[in-house]
Symmetry: C6
């Protein structure tokens, strides 16, 4: 299949995935990694920013559900030494939890998302990052009442990230267990340039981990489920195509 | 089947589809293209406006979830050079995102839809367009509280587009993943002149792309699912009828 | 089966249907035609009013989701010339869309249904109509907050139509896709004298159009599904009984 | 099975049913007849009050979804002449629709249920009725906001009917199509002395009408489905036990 | 299985059940009996308090959905003479319906649950009851807006009953038909010491009555369904283990 | 599989579980134990704190749905003598119910979670606990209106527990019956370091108890269901892997 690929492609570093998406993600676009709790979203993102290291592509990792310290441990459990890259200022782990620890019962929260995007911008410029992870995106969306307001807000947020940060970005979304949704507010699905869905499926032989490409603009894709494993050092490794038995 | 086809038909340019709908869409009517994220709605619309080029039918493409620049890339990835037509003023890509980027937490949005329809009207007249795409329609619907108000609003919006713009129009609607709905507010389904549904179905052999004609007023139609592929240069190509295996 | 049929029966003109409902609908009562988008509700209603022509029974058709002009085209596509009857003042197509095109964001709508019923009454008397179609009924129901208020409102509306208009009336209701409901507010189901449900069902052999009689007061009925086709000139024609394979 | 049946039993007159419920309903208690639209609730109630005629038990029928005139026609279509009993003041058909025809958009409805129960009481005493039908019960329940308020209101309403009216009473409830509920507010199910559910089931051989006894306090019951038909003169007649094929 | 059973066990009197729960319920704790309408909850509770009679354990029965008079009849239909025990002041039937019969449309209800618990306490002390039934519990829970407030309220209510009344208590909960829930507010499930679920299941051979032990703190239990019958004199009698065919 | 396990692992003491999670939970992190009513959550937690006793690891148990006295009985029923450890100040059972027993109808509840965390902190320091159980977590989450506020509140609460208490913590969550959710507010799932789900599954052979590891950060895990039993003295014992038959 011939195609005009004018925009460079950024490899994810996930073994078996880049060949399914014409070499990688499109530079400077925003992608959604979606999955229920425990499906591997954070490992996917860690692998993604580590893939940048060998290519000289620095990264910012915004961690909201995990303390940066814990993230380092998670990486270490797979044999990845993130600390070294942090010391070399190639990776910056951002802890935005201070924004979230001042909760009193009933106190209303007023945060301007442009404030957060501005901070992000500073960090990105500081280490000249070209890869960005926001894990997860949902906490940056709050304070809206009407459903349609939330939709416009999210569209605006994702566009701001695209316009101002100039990074190839992964945002993660937790699928509430027991539903078949891909995201919390739905609109993220339609605005991002691609969606990768991680899952844990119950087959006859037991539970297996699965990944599939839900959407990938401007890229011929494979719609099938692929079974993967999480291995030390290598992280997520795609093994098989198809979810049988 | 004989029929009185007094209103001209406008071919969609989708291989295998026009023969299923008596040659094409009815001139100046509004049609809904519906599907979950990643099912090909945008490619469908691009193909539609490109089909107008060889017939001298100019088009306006209102893109809300994708920046016009990205749309050009998506087209380019399939080998379509939209830029040329834009330069020749045969296609106008409208970016309405400025309406949506001024979001502050809690700020209320007040937009008069007649303002947007008036802008659209200007653009349509400027390049004498007869084909129009609004992708997606949902962001133009906001600010209504009661469900019945939303319904009347949408009916009114679609009628305004029919009355004022004199274009054969496609509006797209994203089906929230994991539901079986066709549109966000439901009412669109009943007001438009036809509905085409794109999907990705999981069969035994793997996932396939499907299209079916949900509704087509004044036209004898085929109710079946048809499997299609997305190929370079040709875009959406219908391959098979029926969803088996 | 003997029965006392004191109230005259009004044939629907749908081939294969009248024999299933003791010859037709009961004079001056209100019936609900229900179905998802694209199932044939409007064609059913057009066929109904055309059936009145050969019997000298004039009709008023209130079209809300379709402009009267489009309705004429839909009829024409099946070979039916409605314009002739309109010119002869045997059919009146009412366009109530003017009530619905003054929508501003946030403007509250206040319409008194008695105003609409009064207008309808004028039209009915003007051409001495005895058949009436309101397609669909939902837009005439708005502005109510509490669910119970809506129920009383609808009951009241349907009773007003029965008392004041003296027509055998069809009201249509769009079933939201992906649900198993019959109507939008549910109460219509219990107040009308009968319910006919149109559908599109997916069988092994493909999709087929189906019709079944959900309810028919004072009439022995057949509860089965019947497969039908839409043919030129003849419109809806019932072919088979039962939904097999 | 021996039992102490101190409270007299009131036969329903439904062939095949009374033998399943120890001879009939318990005197002066309230029973719920539940079913989707078109399942035969009204016919059940008509048969019930006619069964009283041969026993010298007068009845009041409160019809809310059907005009009394229509009810007479429904009865006539099965060969039942209600008018005669009305003339002899053995049956009173109450039309409560006047309460419901003063609906303006937005006007708030304030009705005191004790007013309605008081009216009912007058009618019951006037013809010395001992059988009562309220078809359906839902319209008498309105104006409550909180769900728990509705529950107490319904409990109170049913108790008032029991205490003040001294009739063996049937109340009907329409099951919204596509749900598996038995009643609109749920609480009715727990307060009434028994529940009979009518349905239309789709078996391999086609659709059949079914009836089953959901609950029957103080009475040994049969939990199975029974298939029935609606025949002229005889009305509902139970044919088979079990829903097979 | 050896165990330290320091707290005495109170037999339910349900044949076949006490052997499944180590001899009975734990003294002074609160248990939930859950089931849809018509599944036998009230009979279960009547049997429970009658079981106390032969052991000299007096009981208070709080009946909310049934008038005490009706309860006596239900008992009588199975051959149980409750009146005798009431006369001997061994059973007290409490009618709390006066709290619920002052409903006007829109009138707000303010009842302090401590008032009801205080009344209960008086009755319990008056006849020195050690068994208590509240059938059902839901009406004592009202007036709360936020879901979390309701949860704390229920927790508080159940703890108050435990602390102040010193009775081994059954509370019943009606499962809304067509759902798979165990209780109305969910929280009851987690606070009570045990849950017994009654049901009516549709097997191939017809419908059967089932009972299973959902939860039983401090007691080794059997998780299976058991089929039971309701027989005169003996009431609920467990027949089989397992739900087959 | 090699891995860098810098953070010590804390055995749960559940036979057959620790080998599935690389020896135990990660020190000082927060884990979610999730399950419907009656699935064994409390026994799991009791076993967890008892496992600490032989290792000299003291524990605080915050019990909200059960009075501490009842908890002691539950433990005793399995042969565990908690009282001894309480007397030796190795285990502290906290009763937070006083916070919840002052409920009046309509009274608004204002509690500052930092107050509760501060109390907890005192207790933890008092006996130098390093294991903590909060059973369940939901009651500590209240008073928030908007869903997004609740999410930030929970994130904040769990982070506070991690930062201030320095205990390896289990929080429990009751899954509402009949749903497939893992937690009440969903957000807990994404913030905790791991999730263990307990269940009762209906197989052909009857009901069995199951456990599976939903998520376990920084730890290679087994995704399968494991069948377990509850035995005296030993508590939860994993028997089989897989849920077959």
């Amino acid at each position: 299949m011939e195609r005009q690929a004018s925009r460079p492609r950024i490899p994810t570093g996930i073994e078996g995935l880049d060949s399914l998406i014409a070499g990688g993600l499109q530079q400077d676009k925003v992608y959604l990694v979606s999955g229920e709790a425990g499906t591997g979203k954070t490992i996917f993102c860690l692998q993604y920013i580590l893939a940048g290291m060998s290519r000289g592509e620095n990264a910012v990792y915004v961690s909201i559900d995990e303390k940066p310290g814990h993230l380092l441990e998670d990486a270490a459990s797979l044999g990845w030494n993130l600390q070294k890259y942090i010391d070399d200022k190639k990776i910056a782990l951002l802890d935005v939890t201070p924004y979230f620890t001042n909760i009193r019962v009933g106190k209303e929260k007023v945060v301007d998302v442009r404030e957060i995007v501005a901070d992000l911008s500073k960090q990105v410029r500081r280490i000249k990052a070209v890869r960005l992870v926001i894990d997860p995106i949902a906490p940056l969306i709050f304070g809206q009442e009407a459903a349609t307001q939330v939709q416009e807000y999210i569209r605006s947020l994702i566009f701001s990230i695209e316009d101002n940060l100039r990074c190839t970005t992964l945002i993660t979304s937790g699928i509430p267990s027991g539903t078949f949704r891909l995201s919390q507010h739905e609109i993220e699905e339609f605005v991002v340039s691609g969606i990768i869905v991680l899952g844990v499926n119950k087959l006859e032989r037991g539970r297996v981990r699965s990944i599939y490409i839900r959407k990938m603009r401007g890229t011929p894709t494979d719609l099938n489920d692929h079974i993967f494993e999480i291995l030390p050092q290598r992280g997520i490794v795609i093994r098989e195509t198809g979810l049988y038995g």
